[in-house]
Structures are given as C-alpha cells and as structure tokens.
C-alpha cells in the first residue's frame, strides 16, 4: 500500500507540468462556481447589514394591508391623516410619515434626463434620519417647496451641485428645484446605483399626484414592548391598514434583496455549471492521453506484482489529489473571479457595493464537490483501462488498448440519449410542478444529451475529420502538413471526439441561444408589424411608469386621433396571480390588433367589463356576456362581464380592463406606454412637431414612431444576446484551453514521430503548421457538431415557447457560419504554444524518446 502511495506521489511530482495543465481546467470550473457563491454571499451580507442598519431606529411600521402587489414595486398609498391617529396611540413616541415614488425624474444641467443601468430613481419625503436611515452629508434638508436633496454618489455621478437649479419631471411636466443638500444612506450609501431624492412631503405628494396620501408610517415606541405596540396600533387602525413590527419589515426587505440576488446568483451558477461540464470532458480526455503515455510503466508494475485493483487505486488516487488541489486553488481563484466580476459589472454601470469575502461552508463544500467530483468522474474510465494493461506489455512493443466494448458503449449512448431527450421534453412540455423540478429536468436532460452525443462522436469523428481536412491537402502551401494534420485528426477517433466535445457544448449553447433569439426577434418583428398598428409610441427606456397626464396631453393634440395609455398590473383569479392590462377600449382595436374573435371592445368600455384571451375562455368555458370574479389588491373581489374574446396576446396579455375599470379598482394611476394614431390628413412631420411640445415636458421618455420603437426593442434583444454569448464565451474559453491541452499532450505522445519527421526534413515551420492545422480540423468538427446539436435544442425550445412570444423559427445560417469560423480560428490559435514546443523539440532526443 505504501509503495502504491509512493508511486502515486512520484508520478505526480515527476510531471508537474502535466499536473498543472490538467488541474487548471478543473480549477477554472471550480473558480466559476465559487465566484457565484462568494458574490451572492458577500452581497447578501452587505445588503442584510444595510437593511438592519436603516431600520434600527424603527419599532413598528404602519402600511396598507394587501394580499398582493397591484403593480410591481409600487406600494398602495394610505391616508395621511392616519399619522395623527398613530401618534395618539399609547406607547408611540414618534410617528413619521413615509412616501416613496419612482415616478419623478431629475434632469441634468444640460437637460438630459438622469439615466441609470436598471437601478431605480427613488423620491422620498424628507424625514428624521434616525428613523429613515437617510442622513444629511452636506448642506441642508429641504424645507421649502422648491428645495430637494440627492444622495452623494448620484450627485457625483451626474454632476449635481449644491446651490444649483435642476428640473424634475413629475405629473405635470418639468419644474425647477434647488439642490440644497446631499444625503447618505447608512455609512457607505450602498444603494447599488440607485438615485435617491428627497423633497418636502407636500411637494412630493403634489409632484406625483398623490396629495394627502402617504405610503407608510414609521413608528418609534417610548419603551413599550414591540408586540404590545403593534397590537395597540392594529386596534386603532381601519381594516385596510395594518401595523407590523420592525422585525417583519427587516425580514421582508432582506427577502426582497435575496430574491433578486438569488436570480442573479443562479444565472451565474448556471453558466458556471456549463463551464464545469466542459471541464469534465477536457479532464477525461487528458487522463486518457496521459494513460497512453504510461503503458510501459503500468505494465512494469503489473509485472512486478501489483494487482489490477492496486493500479486502479493508484490512478484514482492521483486524480483525487489533482481534484483536491484544483478545489483548494479554485477557492482562491473563485474569490479573485468574484472581485473581478464586480469590477466588470461596475464598469458596466451596475454599482455593486463592496463586500466582505464570505467563504461559507456551502462554498467550500461546493468547491470540493465540483473539483473532486469532476476529476473522479473523469478518471473512472481511464483508471479502469489502466488496470487492463497486461504485464507483458512491458516487454513486448505495440500494446494497444482495446477499442472499448463498442456495442456496449453504443447501447449506453442510446439509452442516455433517450433519457436525455425525455428529460428535456418533460421539462418543456410536461407541466412539471415548480421551477426547480423543471430546471432539473431540462438541465439534467440536456447534460445527458450532450454526454450521449459525445459518446456517439467517436463513431464518426474519423470520417468527419478526414472530410473536413480534405481542402487543406489541395491548398498548395499546406499539402503535406495538411495531409499530416488530416491523418492525425482522423487517426485517433476517441481523442479527436473528446477534444471536440468541449467546444461542442459551448457552441451548442451559443447556437441554441442564437436560434431562440433570432426567432424571438423575427416573431417580434412580425407581431409588431401586424399587431401594433399605432403610429406613435411613448415609453420609458427602462420601462418605468410615468404619469397619466402625458396621455391626456397627447390626446389633447389635434394632430392625433386615437390615444390610449396602457397600464400593467396584477390581479388574482381563483387565487392565482395573473397579469392584467388596461387600455381605452374605445380605441383599442385601432391601436392594437388583438384579433377579436367575438364581442366588441368598444362597446365594453365601462368599469365592469373585461376582455379575455381565447386560452382563458377555453380553460374556463367562458363566452362573451358571461361573468368572471376577479380579486384586486385595493378593492377585493369584483364581478366582471366578458366584453370580448381575442386571440392575440401580444402586449395586451390574457386579461384586459378598460381605463374606467382600472380607475375603479386600482389606487395607482401611472401608465407604462402611450399608443397614439396620427389623425387622418395629418402627415408625420406635423405630428412630430406637435409632439415636440409634450416631449419637452417629459424628456426622460422616448417618443417614437412605430418603426423606431420596433428597432429599439430589437436592439435590446441584441444586447441581451451579446451578454449571454459573453458568458458562454467563458465556457468556450475553457474548451479552447482543452484543445491547447490536448494538442500539448498529443505532441508529447508523438514526440518520436515528430523527431523522425524533423530528421528527414520537416522544417520547424512545417511542424507548427501541422499541429495547428490538426487543432483547426478538430475545432471545426466540434463546432459543427455543436451547432447541429444547438439547432436541435433551439428548435425544441422554440416549439415549447408559447406562440404569443415566438411564432416562427428563424435560423440565422450566416451568423452560425461565422461562429463556426471563429471557433476554428480560435482552435488554431489555441494550439500555438504546443505547436511551438513541437517545433523546438531536439531532434535526437525526440527520436530516442521511448
């Protein structure tokens, strides 16, 4: 046993370079996983501290009692008069009204609206910093109606200076305010890029059209027990208002943060797992190659008396050590990567706060699991094969490994493929319960499909490589080297296939994302073209709501005929939360061709009528004229009559209310989009001029023609695709590393051959060319295989995604071809270092190497 251990360690020590190369691929995968945990854990800790800090002066809070949010991120307002009621309750020391809105937009000194990368612009009423956590850093608090303050970082970022006048856009358009002070939230103003403004309570109410209303009341007790205080408050408050302890508030706010962080963390983890998956292939390949080089040594120790079990054990122990090393270094690498990610994201404008490096037990376990798991899994097969080397191979040259139970492999591959496709199908079409189960089915299924493709690949990698390499032989400058490259790539189908497998996975995912995105874009374009018939659209670039005043102002212009504001909110139907849209039913079909099947929207323009999508009608067996009960956050359950049934859910969704219906049941009035038609006999130029006056009052909004709007939406899709591809690019990077790795080890394996060829007249340049071209062939093979698999996944995904989002498949062959070319060139470049080493081999040493 001790001898086996000693042998294992000596093996590792003897080939440190191989050790490093091998562990590096695993290390990258582990780092990626660790970084996602470190980032989320660190940010959670930071945000938790912020939440606790800012609520430390609070004992209880009074707010509207709601079962669900009627509009995302918007609180239901309560009556300002309740402050007095609360202040009068026994045990209450301080009762501060709280107001929050995302409606207001400040303009920079050049008139451009302040723009963030997704962080909100929040406006508050100025209150006691002890309670709110927002303290003055400089200057003074807003006291009169034309004063406001802003947080220090935003003021710095957007060049807001104390003493200067700035316009703020509210319900009634833009109005001037003087910046009188700068604020800081908590110690570091860690608000992740959000812009915080405070006004006097009266002003912020007026600006947002919510006079006499507030969103919450912060309560500090005079020493009485918190629970007692809360129950006393609840006793004194009307039924639609509730009081909760600060613990509840803190817990809710922490939940909000972790909800958002979780999504981010899971996305990152998803990409990390892709990288890990790719690493596994790389390592498996590497181990197999290393094995090939060790045949003599293995045979020798078998001849000297080591059992098969001992050989297997030694191989797996070696892998285990590599895995542990990769895990440990991966922890460090993950921390560095997390810090790097933060820098990158901040450079993109996300303003993530600094965070402590938190390495939780979960992170360490994950690192070990991934690092050790990957290496052990990858080494199972090589270890088994190592044990099959017979002792006699030490003396007799030309031992070759068995071609690996061909039929058994094929059967396993087929079984895995079937299970994998089933898993994917179940995940997409199977109505599984709960997101984790769906993701498991999808992700697990996809993994199995990839594995089975990788297992099938050796069956056709030789002829494929041979075919792909054919053109090289006909190019005058690479006839011989191309021929050699082609022969080398085609000769070892296992190695070619498993090298290509890494690239295959990366390109399959990119291919799938490209097909889905492309189909999404073209469906969107089609739908936009056929459904959204409005001539003009107004909305906020970050999709923020804005005042309904805008719709009124546009409607007042004679140059426009039909005008409707569109609002998006939530309702509950039979206990399930659903999206609801409101428009002006009278002008609906002139602006949005929803494909009315029965009924008439225009005649249903009243507060008790609702329009539903055909799917809802079919599910519930409803017809025009039937009744449906719907629950609202503000007004509870209300009966509605079905005014019309339509088939096109694009933009309007499944449930639609008339403006009157919304106004009767929702407290918020803000709108998200304004759609307008140019009046007949008015040309575009005239309409644009007329609109310019309204534009001046609301500079933060985009006023666009139908075409311009569509182009901007498509642009956003393109940006999303770029981000996804960048992340997938990291997985590709690992695959390229794998190619470099394999070529390096393959050069080691072919040392004698290269030495021989150098002896009989192959120049260094020809050597380099030979290695690089082989890598190019293998890469192209992997890329093409990946794109084919990606096309399949993309097609399946498009089928699974509902018709309303993607109506037809679009396969951008040109783009995919470009990806294949890039992958080939990248593979060629990845082999540069191994190629140089091959060229620098000492000819004599190489020939003599055994």
């Amino acid at each position: 046993m001790r001898e086996i251990l000693r042998l294992t360690f000596r093996n590792l020590a003897a080939s440190k370079l191989r050790f490093l190369l091998t562990s590096f691929a695993v290390l990258m995968g582990v780092s990626f996983v660790v970084s996602s945990f470190v980032l989320t854990d660190g940010l959670t800790k930071t945000f938790d501290a912020i939440v606790e800090d800012s609520n430390s002066g609070l004992d209880a809070q009074v707010r509207a009692r709601v079962d669900f949010e009627e509009v995302d991120f918007v609180d239901l307002p309560i009556d300002e008069g309740l402050v007095e009621v609360v202040a009068g309750v026994d045990g209450v020391d301080v009762a501060e009204p709280g107001f929050q809105s995302m409606l207001l937009v400040p303009l920079e000194s050049d008139g451009d609206p302040v723009e963030t990368t997704g962080s909100p612009i929040l406006s508050f009423n100025w209150t006691d910093p002890e309670i709110s956590g927002l303290a003055l850093a400089e200057g003074s608090a807003p006291e009169s109606a034309d004063e406001f303050v802003m947080d220090v970082d935003s003021a710095d970022r957007y060049d807001f200076v104390i003493g200067e006048q700035y316009d703020v856009v509210g319900t009634a358009g833009r109005e001037p305010f003087e910046l009188v002070g700068l604020t800081r939230f908590g110690e570091d103003n860690a608000v992740a890029g959000a812009v915080l403004m405070s006004f006097t309570l009266d002003e912020v109410q007026r600006l947002t059209g919510l006079d006499g209303q507030i969103h919450w009341i912060d309560v500090a007790g005079d020493g009485v027990d918190t629970d007692t205080l809360v129950s006393r408050l609840n006793g004194a408050l009307p039924s639609d208002v509730e009081s909760v302890s600060s613990d509840v508030v803190v817990a809710e706010e922490k939940d909000d943060f972790s909800g958002a962080l979780d999504i981010f963390g899971n996305v990152l983890l998803g990409f990390a797992l892709v990288a890990v998956f790719v690493s596994t292939f790389i390592i498996g390949n590497t181990f197999n190659i290393l094995l090939g080089q060790r045949v003599k040594q293995l045979a020798l120790i078998r001849a000297l008396g080591a059992s098969r079990g001992q050989v297997r054990f030694s191989s797996m122990l070696e892998s285990l050590i590599i895995g542990v090393a990769a895990s440990i270094f991966g922890l460090g690498g993950g921390v560095l990567l997390a810090l790097g990610l933060r820098s990158v994201m901040n450079a993109m404008g996300f303003a993530l706060p600094a965070f402590d490096i938190v390495i939780s037990a979960r992170t360490v376990i994950a690192a070990l699991l991934v690092g050790i798991g990957v290496t052990l899994i990858a080494s199972i097969s090589p270890a088994r094969r190592a044990a099959t080397v017979p002792p006699v191979a030490a003396m007799r040259p030309g031992f070759r490994f068995g071609s690996g139970e061909g039929t058994r492999r094929t059967i396993i591959a087929i079984v895995l493929a079937v299970i994998g496709v089933t898993g994917v199908g179940l995940g997409l079409f199977g109505n599984l319960d709960g997101t984790p189960l769906v993701l498991l089915s999808l992700g697990g299924g996809a993994v199995l499909v990839f594995v089975s493709v990788a297992m099938f690949a050796p069956l056709f990698s030789s002829p494929s490589a041979s075919f792909l390499g054919l053109p090289l032989e006909h190019l005058p400058w690479s006839r011989t080297t191309g021929h050699m490259a082609r022969e080398n790539a085609a000769s070892n189908n296992k190695r070619t296939a498993s090298t290509a497998a890494g690239l295959m996975i990366g390109l399959a995912l990119i291919g799938m994302a490209t097909v889905v995105a492309s189909s999404l874009k073209s469906s969107f374009r089609d739908q936009m073209g056929s459904t959204l018939t409005a001539d003009y659209l107004v909305n906020h670039p970050s999709d923020q709501n804005f005042s309904e005043q805008l719709a009124a102002e546009v409607a007042a212009l004679p140059e426009f005929s039909e005008v409707s504001g569109v609002r998006f909110g939530s309702i509950r139907v039979d206990g399930d939360t659903k999206d609801v849209t409101s428009t002006d039913f009278a002008s609906l079909i002139d602006l949005l061709d929803v494909g009315v099947l029965s009924g008439d929207p225009a005649s249903a323009a009243n507060p008790t009528s609702m329009l539903i999508h055909r799917d809802v009608a079919d599910d519930r067996g409803l017809e025009v004229g039937d009744s449906i009960t719907v629950e609202f956050a503000a007004t509870g359950e209300q009966p509605f009559t079905i005014g019309a049934i339509y088939e096109n859910a694009f933009i309007i969704g499944n449930y639609a209310l008339d403006d009157s219906g919304w106004e009767a049941n929702f407290d918020t009035r803000d709108i998200n989009v304004v759609a307008a038609n140019i009046a007949p006999d008015v040309d575009e130029a005239e309409a644009a001029v007329a609109l310019a006056t309204v534009e001046a009052s609301f500079p933060q909004l985009e006023f666009e023609t139908n075409d311009e709007f569509r182009q901007r939406m498509e642009g956003q899709l393109d940006s999303l695709l770029v981000i996804i591809n960048v992340f997938l690019g990291l997985a590709i990077l690992i695959a390229l590393l794998g190619i470099a790795n394999t070529m390096a080890l393959s050069v080691l394996e072919r040392t004698q051959e290269i030495g021989l060829m150098r002896a009989i007249g192959m120049t260094r340049r020809q050597t380099r060319s030979m290695i690089r071209l082989e890598a190019a062939i293998v890469s192209l093979f992997g890329a093409l295989l990946g794109l084919v698999v990606g096309l399949f996944f993309g097609w399946v995904a498009v089928i699974a995604i509902p018709e309303s989002i993607i109506s037809s498949i679009d396969i951008p062959l040109g783009t995919l071809a470009v990806y294949a070319v890039i992958a080939t060139v990248a593979g060629l470049l990845a082999a540069s270092l191994p190629a140089r080493r091959a060229a620098r081999l000492n000819v004599l040493d190489a020939i003599a190497a055994a």
Binding site: G398, P476, W477, R479, T480, H483, M484, E487, N488, S491, Q752, E753, L756, M757, R758, A759, I760, G761, M762, T763, R764, Q766, V843, L844, I847
Partner: protein, 267 residues
C-alpha cells in the same frame, strides 16, 4: 509549386590537415570531419563523446562504424548527419560545412541531400508505406521521378505493400520501406543507425543486401553504425571507435576479422 530550391553555398576547402584515414583510391569524399569534438555537460559531469576525430567517408562506398557501447559511434553518425551540434571541429557534407548552417538550412540539407534509416520507429504510423517513402519529397513540395520510384519499389519488393500502414507490415518490411524512402531522393549519403538491430537474421540480411546493392548498382554512399560483425562484413570499410577516438580501420572486412578487432578493442 515547389517550396524547395537547392541551397548550396559554395565553399572551398582550405587544407586537409593530417588524415588518420586514407581513402581507397582517389575517389572523392562524400563527407568529412576534421577535429570533430563533442562534449556533453560541463565540469565534473562532463562527458567527452568524441575527441578530435578526423575521418573521411568515401563516396560510393558502404562504410561501417563500430565500437563498444559508449564509444561514440552513434554520436559520430549524428554529428555527420547534422542531427547533433558539434562542440568543435569542421564537419562537411561534400563541400558544405554544416556547422555553419541554421536549423532551417540543416533541415533542408537533410531533406534534399541525406537519407536516414533508424533502428526502430522509422515510419510515420498514420501514413501508408508509399506516403512514407515519398515523405521527404512531399515535404519539399516535389513529386518523384516516376521511373526511379518504380525501380526502387520493385527492387525492394514492396509493390504490393504500398497502401499498407506500418502497423500492417513486418519489421523487415518496415525497414525496407525506410530504405526505399532513403533512396527515392537519390541523396548524397544515406546514414543508417543500427538498421538491422531489431530484425531477425533473415530480414536483417535482406536489408543489408539492399544497402549493398544501393552502393554497387546505384552509386549511393552509405554510412552505417552497427554492433553486429555480420552486418559490418557487408561494408567496404569498417572504422573503429573507442572512448570517442578513432582507433582503427579495416578494409574488405569478414565477420571473423571484425569480431577479432572488436574483441581486441574491448580488452
């Protein structure tokens, strides 16, 4: 398009120095070395593989280099063939001083003017026999003289083996392919390092017979390292090394003469 052009810097020889070896007749020298020294390592671990060796290999002859292990015979071959650098001395293939050449020039020299046969691992496993034979030409982007290739293949009895991979050939057949490769470029010299070391006596004698024919019928020059007196007897002249020095020479060798000389050296 041929990427190969014969590079042949013209150089005149300045004085021959004292030659330990006297050529047979007045035939020209295919390759010469004067003061050839090869030292490995430095300081205490220094190994003097070749010690001021002076030798000439006559053209159109089969010369055998022999000596006990560690004598430097393989090193001498490697240095003469431009496969190894020399520490000191003047090595020439014909009139070309090879110690001056860059790696690229040496590579081209080996490709165009030399042929090689190694003891083992002579052939590229992924190429067929024919492809292996034509490899040096193809590396230079040239095609063979069809008649010549035909003649070589027939003489070596490889006609029906051309499409086979090395793994499908016996040891003897592999060596014959190596010989064919060495011949097809009509080189100035063929260097063979223990060409029959891995073969049984029958196959070995076949190969040696071909090498002999190459010299007699086709005016080739062959320099061969061997430890086998029987193989050495095929040569026109045998030179002996010991401890990196040239210590003797034997013309028209017979196996027993060669054997006696070896015995004498090893004492």
């Amino acid at each position: 398009m041929s990427e190969d052009t014969r590079t042949n810097p013209a150089e005149t020889r300045e004085g021959t120095g004292t030659a330990l070896v006297e050529p047979i007749g007045d035939g020209p020298m295919a390759a010469t070395a004067v003061g050839l020294t090869k030292i490995y390592g430095s300081g205490d671990t220094q190994v003097i593989a070749l010690d001021h060796v002076e030798v000439g290999f006559q053209a159109q002859q089969l010369t055998a280099i022999m000596g006990p292990s560690g004598s430097g015979k393989s090193t001498l071959l490697h240095c003469m063939a431009g496969l190894d650098s020399v520490t000191d001395g003047d090595v020439r293939i014909g009139d070309t001083r090879i110690s001056d050449l860059s790696d690229k020039q040496l590579t081209l020299l080996r490709r165009q003017r030399l042929g090689f046969i190694f003891q083992a691992f002579n052939l590229v496993p992924t190429l067929s026999a024919e492809e292996n034979i034509l490899l040096p030409l193809h590396l230079g982007g040239r095609e063979p003289d069809q008649d010549w290739e035909q003649r070589v293949v027939e003489s070596l009895q490889l006609g029906d083996r051309l499409k086979h991979r090395p793994s499908e050939l016996s040891g003897g057949q592999q060596q014959r392919v190596a010989v064919a490769r060495a011949l097809v470029t009509r080189p100035d010299i063929i260097f063979a390092d223990e060409p029959t070391g891995n073969l049984d006596s029958k196959a070995g004698n076949e190969v040696l017979g071909f090498l002999r024919r190459a010299v007699d019928d086709w005016q080739q020059t062959v320099v061969m390292v061997t430890h086998d007196p029987g193989a050495a007897s095929y040569a026109d002249v045998v030179i002996f090394l010991r401890d990196g020095k040239l210590v003797g020479r034997l013309e028209d060798p017979t196996p027993s003469h060669v054997y006696d000389r070896i015995r004498a050296l090893e004492e």
